[in-house]
Protein backbone atom coordinates (compact mmCIF):
# COMPACT_ATOMS: atom_id res chain seq x y z
CA UNK A 1 0.00 0.00 0.00
CA UNK A 2 1.45 3.36 -1.04
CA UNK A 3 0.55 6.12 1.39
CA UNK A 4 1.95 9.05 -0.62
CA UNK A 5 -0.82 10.89 -2.40
CA UNK A 6 -0.65 11.03 -6.19
CA UNK A 7 -0.36 14.41 -7.92
CA UNK A 8 -3.95 14.03 -9.07
CA UNK A 9 -5.15 13.37 -5.53
CA UNK A 10 -3.19 16.36 -4.24
CA UNK A 11 -4.60 18.64 -6.92
CA UNK A 12 -8.15 17.42 -6.35
CA UNK A 13 -7.86 17.98 -2.61
CA UNK A 14 -6.24 21.41 -3.07
CA UNK A 15 -9.08 22.46 -5.35
CA UNK A 16 -11.64 21.13 -2.91
CA UNK A 17 -9.88 22.98 -0.11
CA UNK A 18 -10.02 26.18 -2.16
CA UNK A 19 -13.72 25.73 -2.83
CA UNK A 20 -14.41 25.08 0.85
CA UNK A 21 -12.43 28.13 1.96
CA UNK A 22 -14.31 30.34 -0.50
CA UNK A 23 -17.74 29.26 0.66
CA UNK A 24 -17.56 27.95 4.21
CA UNK A 25 -16.56 30.76 6.50
CA UNK A 26 -17.16 30.17 10.19
CA UNK A 27 -19.91 32.80 10.00
CA UNK A 28 -21.64 30.90 7.24
CA UNK A 29 -21.42 27.63 9.15
CA UNK A 30 -22.80 29.30 12.28
CA UNK A 31 -25.70 30.82 10.34
CA UNK A 32 -26.66 27.48 8.79
CA UNK A 33 -26.46 25.81 12.20
CA UNK A 34 -28.48 28.53 13.88
CA UNK A 35 -31.20 28.27 11.25
CA UNK A 36 -31.03 24.48 11.19
CA UNK A 37 -30.72 24.56 7.44
CA UNK A 38 -28.60 22.76 4.91
CA UNK A 39 -25.62 24.71 3.53
CA UNK A 40 -27.26 25.34 0.16
CA UNK A 41 -24.50 27.67 -1.02
CA UNK A 42 -21.91 24.97 -0.42
CA UNK A 43 -24.05 22.26 -2.01
CA UNK A 44 -24.52 24.48 -5.04
CA UNK A 45 -20.75 25.04 -5.27
CA UNK A 46 -20.09 21.30 -4.93
CA UNK A 47 -22.61 20.60 -7.70
CA UNK A 48 -21.30 23.36 -9.95
CA UNK A 49 -17.69 22.25 -9.60
CA UNK A 50 -18.30 18.54 -10.11
CA UNK A 51 -17.70 17.38 -6.54
CA UNK A 52 -21.24 16.54 -5.53
CA UNK A 53 -21.48 13.64 -7.98
CA UNK A 54 -18.06 12.20 -7.20
CA UNK A 55 -18.10 8.44 -7.02
CA UNK A 56 -21.22 8.04 -9.15
CA UNK A 57 -21.32 6.39 -12.58
CA UNK A 58 -20.72 8.59 -15.61
CA UNK A 59 -23.99 7.59 -17.25
CA UNK A 60 -25.80 9.31 -14.39
CA UNK A 61 -23.69 12.44 -14.67
CA UNK A 62 -21.19 11.44 -12.01
CA UNK A 63 -17.43 11.08 -11.92
CA UNK A 64 -16.29 7.62 -10.86
CA UNK A 65 -13.17 7.41 -8.74
CA UNK A 66 -11.44 4.99 -6.43
CA UNK A 67 -12.61 4.60 -2.84
CA UNK A 68 -9.40 5.95 -1.29
CA UNK A 69 -9.56 9.25 -3.19
CA UNK A 70 -13.27 9.48 -2.59
CA UNK A 71 -12.82 9.16 1.18
CA UNK A 72 -9.93 11.63 1.15
CA UNK A 73 -12.41 14.14 -0.31
CA UNK A 74 -14.93 13.34 2.41
CA UNK A 75 -12.21 13.89 5.03
CA UNK A 76 -11.22 17.21 3.42
CA UNK A 77 -14.78 18.54 3.44
CA UNK A 78 -15.27 17.57 7.08
CA UNK A 79 -12.14 19.36 8.19
CA UNK A 80 -14.35 22.41 7.81
CA UNK A 81 -17.97 21.31 7.69
CA UNK A 82 -20.13 19.36 10.08
CA UNK A 83 -22.18 16.56 8.46
CA UNK A 84 -24.73 18.07 6.07
CA UNK A 85 -25.92 15.20 3.92
CA UNK A 86 -22.96 14.76 1.59
CA UNK A 87 -21.56 12.36 0.50
CA UNK A 88 -24.26 9.97 -0.61
CA UNK A 89 -22.42 8.17 -3.40
CA UNK A 90 -22.20 4.89 -1.52
CA UNK A 91 -25.87 4.49 -0.81
CA UNK A 92 -26.70 6.03 -4.17
CA UNK A 93 -24.53 3.54 -5.98
CA UNK A 94 -26.40 0.71 -4.33
CA UNK A 95 -29.68 2.33 -5.26
CA UNK A 96 -28.49 2.73 -8.83
CA UNK A 97 -27.39 -0.92 -8.80
CA UNK A 98 -30.58 -2.32 -7.33
CA UNK A 99 -33.25 0.09 -8.54
CA UNK A 100 -35.38 -0.07 -11.65
CA UNK A 101 -34.53 2.23 -14.55
CA UNK A 102 -37.30 4.59 -13.45
CA UNK A 103 -36.03 4.70 -9.84
CA UNK A 104 -32.47 5.22 -11.05
CA UNK A 105 -33.49 8.14 -13.22
CA UNK A 106 -35.47 9.81 -10.44
CA UNK A 107 -32.56 9.48 -8.03
CA UNK A 108 -29.89 10.60 -10.48
CA UNK A 109 -31.90 13.65 -11.57
CA UNK A 110 -32.48 14.72 -7.98
CA UNK A 111 -28.87 14.24 -6.93
CA UNK A 112 -27.55 16.13 -9.95
CA UNK A 113 -29.36 19.17 -8.59
CA UNK A 114 -27.86 18.77 -5.13
CA UNK A 115 -30.82 17.04 -3.48
CA UNK A 116 -30.59 14.21 -0.99
CA UNK A 117 -32.97 12.18 -3.21
CA UNK A 118 -33.93 9.69 -0.50
CA UNK A 119 -33.49 8.91 3.14
CA UNK A 120 -32.81 5.48 4.61
CA UNK A 121 -35.83 4.53 6.73
CA UNK A 122 -34.63 1.46 8.62
CA UNK A 123 -34.43 2.16 12.37
CA UNK A 124 -37.58 1.81 14.48
CA UNK A 125 -38.22 2.59 18.13
CA UNK A 126 -37.68 -1.05 19.12
CA UNK A 127 -35.19 -1.84 16.35
CA UNK A 128 -31.91 0.12 16.56
CA UNK A 129 -28.83 -2.05 16.68
CA UNK A 130 -31.21 -5.01 16.48
CA UNK A 131 -32.39 -4.02 13.04
CA UNK A 132 -33.88 -7.44 12.50
CA UNK A 133 -36.57 -6.48 15.00
CA UNK A 134 -38.29 -4.07 12.64
CA UNK A 135 -42.05 -4.44 12.48
CA UNK A 136 -43.04 -2.13 9.64
CA UNK A 137 -45.04 -4.16 7.15
CA UNK A 138 -45.88 -4.12 3.47
CA UNK A 139 -49.29 -5.64 2.82
CA UNK A 140 -50.81 -6.34 -0.57
CA UNK A 141 -54.45 -5.48 -1.26
CA UNK A 142 -56.33 -4.93 -4.54
CA UNK A 143 -53.12 -4.83 -6.58
CA UNK A 144 -51.56 -2.18 -4.35
CA UNK A 145 -49.00 -2.31 -1.54
CA UNK A 146 -49.73 -0.67 1.83
CA UNK A 147 -46.93 0.28 4.25
CA UNK A 148 -47.63 0.54 7.96
CA UNK A 149 -45.21 1.24 10.78
CA UNK A 150 -43.06 3.79 12.54
CA UNK A 151 -39.47 4.75 11.79
CA UNK A 152 -37.18 6.82 13.95
CA UNK A 153 -33.78 8.56 13.72
CA UNK A 154 -34.24 8.87 9.97
CA UNK A 155 -31.61 11.27 8.69
CA UNK A 156 -32.89 13.84 6.26
CA UNK A 157 -36.40 12.36 5.91
CA UNK A 158 -38.00 15.82 5.74
CA UNK A 159 -35.59 17.16 3.12
CA UNK A 160 -35.55 14.11 0.83
CA UNK A 161 -38.29 13.65 -1.75
CA UNK A 162 -38.19 9.86 -1.28
CA UNK A 163 -37.57 7.30 1.45
CA UNK A 164 -36.07 3.85 1.18
CA UNK A 165 -38.32 2.09 3.65
CA UNK A 166 -37.40 -1.27 5.15
CA UNK A 167 -40.32 -3.58 5.84
CA UNK A 168 -40.44 -7.06 7.31
CA UNK A 169 -42.59 -10.03 6.43
CA UNK A 170 -43.47 -11.58 9.81
CA UNK A 171 -44.57 -14.82 8.11
CA UNK A 172 -41.32 -15.43 6.23
CA UNK A 173 -39.90 -18.89 7.06
CA UNK A 174 -36.32 -17.58 6.84
CA UNK A 175 -35.80 -14.43 8.97
CA UNK A 176 -32.68 -13.55 6.95
CA UNK A 177 -34.89 -13.28 3.90
CA UNK A 178 -37.76 -11.33 5.35
CA UNK A 179 -36.71 -7.72 4.85
CA UNK A 180 -37.58 -5.73 1.74
CA UNK A 181 -36.94 -2.14 0.68
CA UNK A 182 -39.52 0.13 -0.91
CA UNK A 183 -39.09 3.43 -2.72
CA UNK A 184 -41.71 5.63 -1.07
CA UNK A 185 -42.45 9.28 -1.94
CA UNK A 186 -42.00 11.29 1.25
CA UNK A 187 -45.16 13.29 0.46
CA UNK A 188 -47.40 10.25 -0.09
CA UNK A 189 -50.72 10.32 1.81
CA UNK A 190 -50.27 8.59 5.17
CA UNK A 191 -46.66 9.70 5.66
CA UNK A 192 -46.11 11.96 8.67
CA UNK A 193 -42.65 13.32 9.40
CA UNK A 194 -41.58 15.03 12.60
CA UNK A 195 -38.12 16.33 13.34
CA UNK A 196 -36.27 15.30 16.50
CA UNK A 197 -34.44 18.21 18.11
CA UNK A 198 -30.85 17.16 18.90
CA UNK A 199 -27.62 18.65 20.21
CA UNK A 200 -25.48 18.30 17.09
CA UNK A 201 -25.55 17.78 13.32
CA UNK A 202 -27.72 20.88 13.19
CA UNK A 203 -27.62 21.17 9.39
CA UNK A 204 -28.97 17.69 8.91
CA UNK A 205 -32.39 16.95 10.38
CA UNK A 206 -33.16 13.69 12.11
CA UNK A 207 -36.78 12.62 11.94
CA UNK A 208 -39.48 10.32 13.15
CA UNK A 209 -41.61 8.93 10.33
CA UNK A 210 -45.10 7.53 10.75
CA UNK A 211 -46.40 5.37 7.92
CA UNK A 212 -50.15 4.91 8.05
CA UNK A 213 -51.55 2.81 5.21
CA UNK A 214 -49.19 4.44 2.74
CA UNK A 215 -50.26 3.21 -0.68
CA UNK A 216 -47.54 2.41 -3.18
CA UNK A 217 -47.25 0.23 -6.26
CA UNK A 218 -45.63 -3.19 -6.75
CA UNK A 219 -43.06 -1.50 -8.97
CA UNK A 220 -41.82 0.50 -6.00
CA UNK A 221 -39.90 -2.45 -4.57
CA UNK A 222 -36.13 -1.93 -4.64
CA UNK A 223 -34.13 -5.00 -5.62
CA UNK A 224 -35.39 -8.47 -4.75
CA UNK A 225 -38.19 -8.90 -2.25
CA UNK A 226 -37.00 -10.43 1.01
CA UNK A 227 -33.32 -9.81 0.34
CA UNK A 228 -33.19 -6.24 1.61
CA UNK A 229 -30.36 -6.49 4.10
CA UNK A 230 -28.25 -8.92 2.10
CA UNK A 231 -28.40 -6.49 -0.82
CA UNK A 232 -27.30 -3.54 1.25
CA UNK A 233 -24.56 -5.20 3.32
CA UNK A 234 -21.78 -3.73 1.18
CA UNK A 235 -23.32 -0.33 1.58
CA UNK A 236 -23.21 -0.61 5.37
CA UNK A 237 -19.50 -1.47 5.26
CA UNK A 238 -18.81 1.60 3.18
CA UNK A 239 -20.86 3.84 5.43
CA UNK A 240 -18.47 2.87 8.22
CA UNK A 241 -15.66 4.41 6.20
CA UNK A 242 -17.67 7.58 5.73
CA UNK A 243 -17.84 7.78 9.52
CA UNK A 244 -14.05 7.32 9.66
CA UNK A 245 -13.56 10.16 7.17
CA UNK A 246 -15.82 12.52 9.09
CA UNK A 247 -14.12 11.63 12.39
CA UNK A 248 -10.65 12.10 10.91
CA UNK A 249 -11.38 15.44 9.22
CA UNK A 250 -13.01 16.75 12.40
CA UNK A 251 -10.20 15.50 14.64
CA UNK A 252 -7.58 17.09 12.40
CA UNK A 253 -9.37 20.44 12.59
CA UNK A 254 -9.71 20.19 16.38
CA UNK A 255 -6.06 19.26 16.76
CA UNK A 256 -4.84 22.17 14.61
CA UNK A 257 -6.96 24.67 16.53
CA UNK A 258 -5.71 23.34 19.87
CA UNK A 259 -2.05 23.30 18.79
CA UNK A 260 -2.23 26.90 17.54
CA UNK A 261 -3.97 27.96 20.71
CA UNK A 262 -1.33 26.25 22.86
CA UNK A 263 1.30 28.38 21.12
CA UNK A 264 -0.60 31.61 21.64
CA UNK A 265 -2.32 31.34 24.99
CA UNK A 266 -0.12 32.78 27.72
CA UNK A 267 -0.62 31.69 31.34
CA UNK A 268 1.86 32.09 34.19
CA UNK A 269 3.89 34.24 31.80
CA UNK A 270 4.49 31.56 29.16
CA UNK A 271 2.53 29.97 26.30
CA UNK A 272 0.60 27.00 27.68
CA UNK A 273 2.23 24.84 24.99
CA UNK A 274 5.44 24.99 27.02
CA UNK A 275 3.78 22.91 29.76
CA UNK A 276 4.49 19.23 29.42
CA UNK A 277 0.92 18.26 30.33
CA UNK A 278 -0.28 20.15 27.25
CA UNK A 279 2.52 18.66 25.15
CA UNK A 280 1.49 15.21 26.30
CA UNK A 281 -2.06 15.83 25.16
CA UNK A 282 -0.96 17.14 21.77
CA UNK A 283 1.41 14.22 21.30
CA UNK A 284 -1.24 11.59 21.97
CA UNK A 285 -3.73 13.48 19.82
CA UNK A 286 -1.22 13.43 16.94
CA UNK A 287 -0.62 9.68 17.41
CA UNK A 288 -4.34 8.99 17.37
CA UNK A 289 -4.84 11.04 14.22
CA UNK A 290 -1.98 9.24 12.52
CA UNK A 291 -3.40 5.85 13.51
CA UNK A 292 -6.89 6.86 12.40
CA UNK A 293 -5.55 7.90 9.01
CA UNK A 294 -3.55 4.70 8.59
CA UNK A 295 -6.39 2.38 9.57
CA UNK A 296 -8.94 4.18 7.48
CA UNK A 297 -6.82 4.72 4.35
CA UNK A 298 -5.72 1.08 4.47
CA UNK A 299 -9.31 -0.01 4.65
CA UNK A 300 -10.29 2.15 1.67
CA UNK A 301 -7.25 0.85 -0.21
CA UNK A 302 -8.26 -2.76 0.58
CA UNK A 303 -11.70 -2.02 -0.85
CA UNK A 304 -10.05 -0.78 -4.04
CA UNK A 305 -7.98 -3.98 -4.21
CA UNK A 306 -11.08 -6.15 -3.87
CA UNK A 307 -10.05 -7.33 -0.39
CA UNK A 308 -12.92 -7.96 2.05
CA UNK A 309 -13.30 -5.14 4.58
CA UNK A 310 -15.90 -6.84 6.72
CA UNK A 311 -13.51 -7.01 9.69
CA UNK A 312 -11.19 -4.10 8.90
CA UNK A 313 -14.04 -1.63 8.36
CA UNK A 314 -15.50 -2.50 11.77
CA UNK A 315 -12.08 -2.12 13.42
CA UNK A 316 -11.38 1.14 11.59
CA UNK A 317 -14.81 2.58 12.39
CA UNK A 318 -14.55 1.69 16.07
CA UNK A 319 -11.06 3.15 16.39
CA UNK A 320 -11.66 6.29 14.32
CA UNK A 321 -14.88 7.42 15.95
CA UNK A 322 -13.64 6.73 19.48
CA UNK A 323 -10.29 8.42 18.85
CA UNK A 324 -11.95 11.26 16.96
CA UNK A 325 -14.04 12.04 20.00
CA UNK A 326 -11.04 11.72 22.33
CA UNK A 327 -9.05 14.15 20.18
CA UNK A 328 -11.94 16.63 20.12
CA UNK A 329 -12.34 16.27 23.87
CA UNK A 330 -8.63 16.87 24.53
CA UNK A 331 -8.69 19.82 22.12
CA UNK A 332 -11.51 21.30 24.17
CA UNK A 333 -9.52 20.70 27.37
CA UNK A 334 -6.53 22.56 25.91
CA UNK A 335 -8.76 25.45 24.83
CA UNK A 336 -10.35 25.61 28.27
CA UNK A 337 -13.50 27.67 28.75
CA UNK A 338 -13.22 29.31 25.35
CA UNK A 339 -13.43 25.87 23.74
CA UNK A 340 -16.85 25.36 25.30
CA UNK A 341 -18.30 28.54 23.80
CA UNK A 342 -20.16 28.68 20.52
CA UNK A 343 -17.56 31.13 19.20
CA UNK A 344 -15.08 28.32 19.02
CA UNK A 345 -15.54 25.53 16.49
CA UNK A 346 -14.12 22.95 18.90
CA UNK A 347 -17.44 22.96 20.74
CA UNK A 348 -19.26 22.16 17.51
CA UNK A 349 -16.80 19.45 16.55
CA UNK A 350 -17.04 17.92 20.03
CA UNK A 351 -20.82 17.53 19.90
CA UNK A 352 -20.87 16.49 16.24
CA UNK A 353 -18.20 13.80 16.55
CA UNK A 354 -19.83 12.23 19.58
CA UNK A 355 -22.73 10.81 17.63
CA UNK A 356 -20.42 8.99 15.23
CA UNK A 357 -20.02 6.44 18.01
CA UNK A 358 -23.68 5.58 17.44
CA UNK A 359 -24.39 6.15 13.75
CA UNK A 360 -24.11 3.30 11.27
CA UNK A 361 -23.48 0.79 14.05
CA UNK A 362 -22.61 1.66 17.65
CA UNK A 363 -19.17 1.03 19.14
CA UNK A 364 -20.68 -2.06 20.74
CA UNK A 365 -22.00 -3.38 17.43
CA UNK A 366 -18.57 -2.83 15.85
CA UNK A 367 -17.07 -4.91 18.66
CA UNK A 368 -19.74 -7.53 18.09
CA UNK A 369 -18.88 -7.71 14.38
CA UNK A 370 -15.11 -7.57 14.86
CA UNK A 371 -15.03 -9.91 17.87
CA UNK A 372 -16.82 -12.69 16.08
CA UNK A 373 -14.76 -12.23 12.90
CA UNK A 374 -11.49 -12.27 14.85
CA UNK A 375 -12.38 -15.47 16.69
CA UNK A 376 -13.46 -17.07 13.42
CA UNK A 377 -10.03 -16.36 11.93
CA UNK A 378 -8.32 -18.44 14.61
CA UNK A 379 -10.85 -21.22 14.87
Amino acid sequence: MIIQKTEEQELLLENLQELMSRVCTEDYIRTCEKNHEQPHKLIEALVENGFYMLGLPEEYGGTPLDHLTYFMCVEEVHKIMPPFGWPRALSLNEMLRLGTEEQRKIVADLVKQGNMAFSFAITEPQAGSDDNAITTTATRKNGKVYINGQKTFITGANISPYMLVATKDPNSPDPRKSVSFWFVPADAPGVTIQTLPKIGWLMLPTCEVFLDNVEIEEKDIVGVEGEGFLQLMKCFEMERLTNCAVALGSAQAAFEDAARYANQRVQFGVPIGSFQLIQEKLTYMAIKIENMRNAFYKCAWEKDQGISIQLSSALAKLYCVQSGFEVADDAMQIMGGIGYTEDCRISRIWRDVRVLRMTDGTDQVMIHIAGRALLKKYR
Binding site: E7, E8, L11, N15, E18, A45, N49, G50
Partner: protein, 254 residues
Amino acid sequence: MKIAVCYKLVPDEQDIVINGDHTISFDKAEWKIGQYDLVAVEAAMRLAEVAGGTVSALSAGGKQLENSKLKKNILSRGPVDAYMIIDETMSDADSYQTAYVLAKAIEKIKDVDLVVCGEGSSDMYAQQVGSQIGELLQWPSVNAIGTITLADGKLIAERMLETEVEVLEIPIPAVISVTSDIFQARIANLKDILEAGKKPVVRWDLDDIGGVPEMSTNVLSVLAPPQADRRRVIIGGDSGDQINEFYEHLRKEL
Protein backbone atom coordinates in the same frame (compact mmCIF):
# COMPACT_ATOMS: atom_id res chain seq x y z
CA MET B 1 -9.35 33.31 -31.58
CA LYS B 2 -6.02 32.02 -30.33
CA ILE B 3 -5.19 33.26 -26.86
CA ALA B 4 -1.90 32.86 -25.01
CA VAL B 5 -2.07 33.37 -21.28
CA CYS B 6 1.14 34.00 -19.37
CA TYR B 7 1.86 32.63 -15.92
CA LYS B 8 4.75 32.55 -13.51
CA LEU B 9 5.74 30.06 -10.86
CA VAL B 10 6.40 31.75 -7.55
CA PRO B 11 7.51 30.50 -4.15
CA ASP B 12 4.66 29.85 -1.75
CA GLU B 13 4.73 32.83 0.58
CA GLN B 14 3.97 30.58 3.56
CA ASP B 15 7.31 28.83 3.09
CA ILE B 16 9.53 31.90 2.65
CA VAL B 17 12.15 32.13 5.38
CA ILE B 18 13.68 35.43 6.46
CA ASN B 19 17.25 34.90 7.57
CA GLY B 20 18.93 36.69 10.47
CA ASP B 21 20.62 39.13 8.05
CA HIS B 22 17.19 39.98 6.52
CA THR B 23 17.96 38.10 3.31
CA ILE B 24 15.13 35.96 2.02
CA SER B 25 15.42 32.23 1.52
CA PHE B 26 13.25 30.30 -0.91
CA ASP B 27 15.16 27.07 -0.27
CA LYS B 28 12.33 25.38 1.59
CA ALA B 29 9.57 26.94 -0.44
CA GLU B 30 7.08 24.92 -2.43
CA TRP B 31 6.38 26.48 -5.81
CA LYS B 32 2.95 27.47 -6.97
CA ILE B 33 1.24 29.29 -9.80
CA GLY B 34 0.96 33.02 -9.18
CA GLN B 35 -2.51 33.85 -7.88
CA TYR B 36 -3.00 36.76 -10.31
CA ASP B 37 -2.01 34.51 -13.20
CA LEU B 38 -4.76 32.04 -12.32
CA VAL B 39 -7.19 34.93 -12.65
CA ALA B 40 -5.68 35.75 -16.06
CA VAL B 41 -6.21 32.12 -17.12
CA GLU B 42 -9.83 32.40 -16.06
CA ALA B 43 -10.29 35.64 -18.04
CA ALA B 44 -8.75 34.00 -21.11
CA MET B 45 -10.93 30.91 -20.72
CA ARG B 46 -14.13 32.92 -20.32
CA LEU B 47 -13.34 34.94 -23.43
CA ALA B 48 -12.54 31.82 -25.44
CA GLU B 49 -15.69 30.09 -24.19
CA VAL B 50 -17.86 33.02 -25.29
CA ALA B 51 -16.04 34.19 -28.41
CA GLY B 52 -14.74 30.79 -29.52
CA GLY B 53 -11.11 29.81 -29.79
CA THR B 54 -8.42 28.16 -27.75
CA VAL B 55 -6.21 29.12 -24.85
CA SER B 56 -2.55 28.13 -24.52
CA ALA B 57 -0.62 28.59 -21.28
CA LEU B 58 2.82 30.14 -21.59
CA SER B 59 5.61 30.50 -19.09
CA ALA B 60 9.34 31.04 -18.84
CA GLY B 61 11.40 30.04 -15.86
CA GLY B 62 13.79 27.64 -14.23
CA LYS B 63 13.58 23.94 -13.56
CA GLN B 64 10.48 24.34 -11.36
CA LEU B 65 8.48 24.48 -14.60
CA GLU B 66 9.33 20.79 -15.11
CA ASN B 67 7.26 19.91 -12.04
CA SER B 68 4.55 17.67 -13.42
CA LYS B 69 2.02 18.55 -10.74
CA LEU B 70 2.35 22.25 -11.57
CA LYS B 71 1.97 21.45 -15.27
CA LYS B 72 -1.23 19.52 -14.52
CA ASN B 73 -2.38 22.32 -12.28
CA ILE B 74 -2.19 25.02 -14.96
CA LEU B 75 -3.66 22.76 -17.64
CA SER B 76 -6.52 21.68 -15.36
CA ARG B 77 -7.71 25.30 -15.44
CA GLY B 78 -8.70 24.97 -19.06
CA PRO B 79 -5.84 25.71 -21.51
CA VAL B 80 -5.56 23.14 -24.31
CA ASP B 81 -1.77 23.06 -24.18
CA ALA B 82 1.23 24.72 -22.58
CA TYR B 83 4.44 26.23 -23.88
CA MET B 84 7.41 26.53 -21.55
CA ILE B 85 10.79 28.11 -22.02
CA ILE B 86 12.93 26.42 -19.42
CA ASP B 87 16.44 27.58 -18.58
CA GLU B 88 18.11 28.26 -15.26
CA THR B 89 18.97 31.78 -16.53
CA MET B 90 15.26 32.50 -16.42
CA SER B 91 15.03 31.75 -12.67
CA ASP B 92 16.41 35.21 -11.91
CA ALA B 93 15.28 36.95 -15.08
CA ASP B 94 14.19 40.56 -14.82
CA SER B 95 10.94 41.74 -16.36
CA TYR B 96 12.59 42.75 -19.65
CA GLN B 97 14.23 39.36 -20.12
CA THR B 98 10.96 37.63 -19.24
CA ALA B 99 8.95 39.80 -21.63
CA TYR B 100 11.54 39.31 -24.37
CA VAL B 101 11.50 35.53 -24.08
CA LEU B 102 7.72 35.38 -23.89
CA ALA B 103 7.38 37.70 -26.92
CA LYS B 104 9.72 35.49 -28.93
CA ALA B 105 7.74 32.42 -27.87
CA ILE B 106 4.48 34.08 -28.91
CA GLU B 107 5.96 34.72 -32.36
CA LYS B 108 7.12 31.13 -32.53
CA ILE B 109 3.72 29.74 -31.50
CA LYS B 110 2.31 31.72 -34.47
CA ASP B 111 -1.15 33.20 -35.09
CA VAL B 112 -1.70 34.35 -31.51
CA ASP B 113 -4.51 36.93 -31.48
CA LEU B 114 -4.42 37.89 -27.86
CA VAL B 115 -1.99 37.67 -24.97
CA VAL B 116 -3.49 37.81 -21.47
CA CYS B 117 -1.37 38.56 -18.43
CA GLY B 118 -2.26 38.88 -14.77
CA GLU B 119 -2.20 42.08 -12.77
CA GLY B 120 1.39 41.37 -11.71
CA SER B 121 3.49 38.51 -10.50
CA SER B 122 2.70 37.24 -7.01
CA ASP B 123 6.32 37.58 -5.91
CA MET B 124 7.81 40.80 -7.34
CA TYR B 125 4.57 42.44 -8.55
CA ALA B 126 6.45 44.78 -10.90
CA GLN B 127 3.47 44.83 -13.34
CA GLN B 128 5.89 45.22 -16.23
CA VAL B 129 5.82 42.05 -18.29
CA GLY B 130 2.47 42.54 -20.03
CA SER B 131 3.27 46.07 -21.20
CA GLN B 132 6.75 45.09 -22.34
CA ILE B 133 5.50 42.10 -24.35
CA GLY B 134 3.16 44.48 -26.20
CA GLU B 135 5.99 46.87 -26.92
CA LEU B 136 8.30 44.12 -28.13
CA LEU B 137 5.62 42.69 -30.42
CA GLN B 138 4.51 46.19 -31.47
CA TRP B 139 0.95 45.28 -30.49
CA PRO B 140 -1.48 47.46 -28.53
CA SER B 141 -0.93 46.80 -24.86
CA VAL B 142 -3.38 47.80 -22.14
CA ASN B 143 -3.36 47.04 -18.45
CA ALA B 144 -5.97 47.24 -15.64
CA ILE B 145 -8.63 45.53 -17.74
CA GLY B 146 -11.67 44.83 -15.59
CA THR B 147 -14.16 43.54 -18.16
CA ILE B 148 -13.70 42.20 -21.64
CA THR B 149 -15.83 41.07 -24.57
CA LEU B 150 -15.26 40.53 -28.25
CA ALA B 151 -17.32 42.38 -30.87
CA ASP B 152 -16.68 42.63 -34.61
CA GLY B 153 -13.19 41.26 -34.25
CA LYS B 154 -12.24 43.86 -31.67
CA LEU B 155 -11.96 43.70 -27.92
CA ILE B 156 -14.32 45.90 -25.95
CA ALA B 157 -12.69 46.35 -22.58
CA GLU B 158 -13.19 48.41 -19.47
CA ARG B 159 -10.00 49.76 -17.99
CA MET B 160 -10.22 50.39 -14.27
CA LEU B 161 -8.44 53.62 -13.38
CA GLU B 162 -8.26 55.24 -9.99
CA THR B 163 -11.19 57.61 -10.44
CA GLU B 164 -12.75 56.54 -13.71
CA VAL B 165 -13.43 53.62 -16.00
CA GLU B 166 -12.20 53.85 -19.59
CA VAL B 167 -14.14 51.92 -22.20
CA LEU B 168 -11.73 50.92 -24.90
CA GLU B 169 -11.97 49.32 -28.28
CA ILE B 170 -8.76 47.40 -28.78
CA PRO B 171 -7.81 45.98 -32.18
CA ILE B 172 -6.24 42.55 -32.13
CA PRO B 173 -3.61 41.20 -31.93
CA ALA B 174 -3.12 42.79 -28.54
CA VAL B 175 -1.72 42.25 -25.09
CA ILE B 176 -3.88 42.87 -22.05
CA SER B 177 -3.23 42.64 -18.33
CA VAL B 178 -6.35 41.97 -16.30
CA THR B 179 -7.21 43.12 -12.79
CA SER B 180 -7.12 40.63 -9.94
CA ASP B 181 -10.89 40.80 -9.52
CA ILE B 182 -11.98 40.47 -13.14
CA PHE B 183 -12.99 36.89 -12.29
CA GLN B 184 -12.42 34.33 -9.60
CA ALA B 185 -10.08 31.57 -10.73
CA ARG B 186 -12.00 28.39 -11.46
CA ILE B 187 -11.91 25.31 -9.31
CA ALA B 188 -10.63 22.32 -11.26
CA ASN B 189 -12.63 19.13 -10.88
CA LEU B 190 -11.48 15.54 -11.18
CA LYS B 191 -12.17 15.32 -14.91
CA ASP B 192 -10.20 18.54 -15.54
CA ILE B 193 -7.29 17.21 -13.49
CA LEU B 194 -7.21 13.82 -15.19
CA GLU B 195 -7.45 15.40 -18.64
CA ALA B 196 -4.68 17.86 -17.80
CA GLY B 197 -2.15 15.04 -17.63
CA LYS B 198 -2.90 14.14 -21.24
CA LYS B 199 -2.60 17.64 -22.70
CA PRO B 200 0.49 18.50 -24.77
CA VAL B 201 3.31 20.51 -23.26
CA VAL B 202 5.87 22.08 -25.60
CA ARG B 203 9.25 22.63 -23.99
CA TRP B 204 11.73 25.06 -25.49
CA ASP B 205 15.13 26.18 -24.30
CA LEU B 206 16.61 29.61 -24.89
CA ASP B 207 18.33 28.51 -28.11
CA ASP B 208 14.96 27.57 -29.60
CA ILE B 209 13.78 31.13 -29.34
CA GLY B 210 17.06 32.85 -30.20
CA GLY B 211 18.57 33.49 -26.77
CA VAL B 212 17.92 36.12 -24.15
CA PRO B 213 19.31 39.68 -23.87
CA GLU B 214 21.40 40.89 -20.93
CA MET B 215 19.58 41.96 -17.80
CA SER B 216 18.38 45.53 -17.97
CA THR B 217 18.33 45.90 -14.22
CA ASN B 218 20.84 45.13 -11.54
CA VAL B 219 19.51 43.77 -8.29
CA LEU B 220 21.86 44.65 -5.47
CA SER B 221 19.95 42.88 -2.74
CA VAL B 222 16.48 41.78 -1.69
CA LEU B 223 15.96 42.29 2.00
CA ALA B 224 13.01 41.91 4.32
CA PRO B 225 12.28 44.95 6.48
CA PRO B 226 13.45 44.57 10.07
CA GLN B 227 10.72 43.26 12.31
CA ALA B 228 9.57 45.61 15.01
CA ASP B 229 8.44 44.36 18.37
CA ARG B 230 4.82 44.99 19.16
CA ARG B 231 4.39 48.05 21.37
CA ARG B 232 1.66 46.38 23.41
CA VAL B 233 -0.09 49.72 23.95
CA ILE B 234 -3.79 49.22 24.50
CA ILE B 235 -6.14 52.19 24.40
CA GLY B 236 -9.67 51.35 25.47
CA GLY B 237 -12.77 53.36 24.62
CA ASP B 238 -13.89 55.63 21.80
CA SER B 239 -13.77 59.14 23.24
CA GLY B 240 -12.10 62.00 21.35
CA ASP B 241 -9.17 62.00 23.78
CA GLN B 242 -8.58 58.33 23.32
CA ILE B 243 -8.72 58.61 19.54
CA ASN B 244 -6.26 61.51 19.72
CA GLU B 245 -3.97 59.42 21.88
CA PHE B 246 -4.23 56.59 19.35
CA TYR B 247 -3.48 59.04 16.53
CA GLU B 248 -0.45 60.42 18.36
CA HIS B 249 1.00 56.93 18.67
CA LEU B 250 0.55 56.31 14.97
CA ARG B 251 1.97 59.72 14.04
CA LYS B 252 5.11 59.13 16.07
CA GLU B 253 5.76 55.88 14.25
CA LEU B 254 5.24 57.41 10.82
